[in-house]
Amino acid sequence: MPMNGFFLEERPSLGLAGFRVAAAATVGLHVIPTFFQMRDNYLAGSFREYNPSFFPTWALEWADRSPDWLVWAMAGVFLVSWAAFLAGLFTRPAGVLLDLSCYYFYARNSLHIGTLSYDILLVTMFLLVITPYPGDCFSLDCLIRGEPEPWRRKRPFFIQRLLQIQLASTYFFTGLAKITAGGNWLVDNPYWYLMNGPALGIIKEFPGRGFLAAHPRLCWLIGAGVIICELNMAWLLFWRRTRPFAIALGFLFHVLLLATMHVPTIFFFLFPPMLLLFVEPETLLGWVEAGRRRRARLGRDRLVFDGACGFCRASLARILALDLSGRIEPVDFRSQDVSSLHPSLTPEACHARIQLLEAGGRLSSGFSVMRRLSLRLPLAWPLAPLLNLPGLRRVGDPVYDWVARHRFNLLHRFRACRDNACLGRSA
């Protein structure tokens, strides 16, 4: 394949967008726990370690001189930018801020968060913030844009390709370092030593540990197997025919690591999703399309909206952007007779409130539609706990009704209504 095709071919970015969520979750799971002991880890009087092989001296000195107010401010920056990057809100600037605050806390104290896997995570984060592609989908940014079917968006493939190369290189050099330079996996039996390590050591007390500790030859074979897998993962992942096997092998490897060793969360929450970046984005898109076709055959929920209202059309576009599985069929009551769908769908009812007629026959309206959609659309699940709080209808119903009543006048400022075309049809 020509190099341009290998890196610059425009392909769906939905896999990269999904990976953004995994990377953000990993960063949070790795760094946020250290914030629960700010005094021990970062504030004045904390016990700190520095990583001069990663940072220049001036950066370490600057971080070391930070007053406590700056540490607290950076923790705030981290948390806000992390939440925004996870949710895909202003994805690129949020990612840049998150990346910078990750470096700051690493420079401030590498004792707890500094591991080789964290260095790898920082490289991954750098690749995720140099383009806006990771915010294309599964993000608030795509809702703000109101883009229909954002999962179809295509982008140059080079970021995903570089992430693939990063993972393949990580496996290869991890294997290589075990058998060259300071590594002792060929000439010694490190896996056996690990199994015999102290009770308060890195190996968990998993079933079978005692058996392995008593069988050095088996341990050596397992160690050799690990090295063979690591050295060969690169071509196994890049060759299309062996790729599914390699992805499954990688998953198994990381599950076993997590089950048997005290390895940082990164090993489970970053590397397995990174393996999924080897699934062709066209294949992912095909799975999405197949799911939508299956949903259409089973019957879709009808969302009855006011097609004469620009605010309603814009809101519908955002709901549809969340509808990855194709569950929603929009129906404009202005242009279609909806009374035949359900006897309660009168013009007055449809004019007053949005209506949702589920495939099973359940009808809901107004604020209840928002609640039902938050449960029925997987991409809206993060909103479900909030929208379905007991008693929220007391506030939600009047607020919804106020918005619905004013959608043709006050909300006419909304940019989707800028042409004023709906004013004459508001009756």
Binding site: H112, D188, P190, N196, P198, L200, G201, H262, V263, T265
Partner: protein, 98 residues
């Protein structure tokens, strides 16, 4: 990762000193940060404190965390062979915090 693992194992222990007696301090109380699914103490994070370069800062940290003790002894504990004699360990004081 885990490029080199040897038969010998080295760890750090911190003992609190009070009234002429020494009492071991649980390392999870020294570094209390908890993660999901793993334990940094078991990844031997405490061994960093053995380096005498860190002694002044670590002593300050210990005095703040454990004011009930009059002093601390930071010790290096080495098991020369985890496969042949796991429980046979050598212990020496790396430094003492007054």
């Amino acid at each position: 990762m885990f490029y080199r693992v040897d038969d010998a194992d080295g760890r750090a222990e911190v003992w609190g000193l009070r009234d002429g007696r020494a009492k071991p301090i649980d390392p999870h109380r020294i570094f209390a940060t908890r993660w999901l699914g793993y334990d940094n103490i078991r990844r031997n994070v405490l061994v960093t404190a053995l380096d005498p370069v860190h002694a002044p800062a670590f002593c300050r940290y210990l005095r703040r965390k454990f004011p009930e003790y009059g002093g601390f002894s930071v010790q290096e504990v080495v098991a020369p062979s985890v496969t042949r004699a796991r429980d046979s360990v050598f212990r020496q004081e790396a430094y003492r915090c007054p």
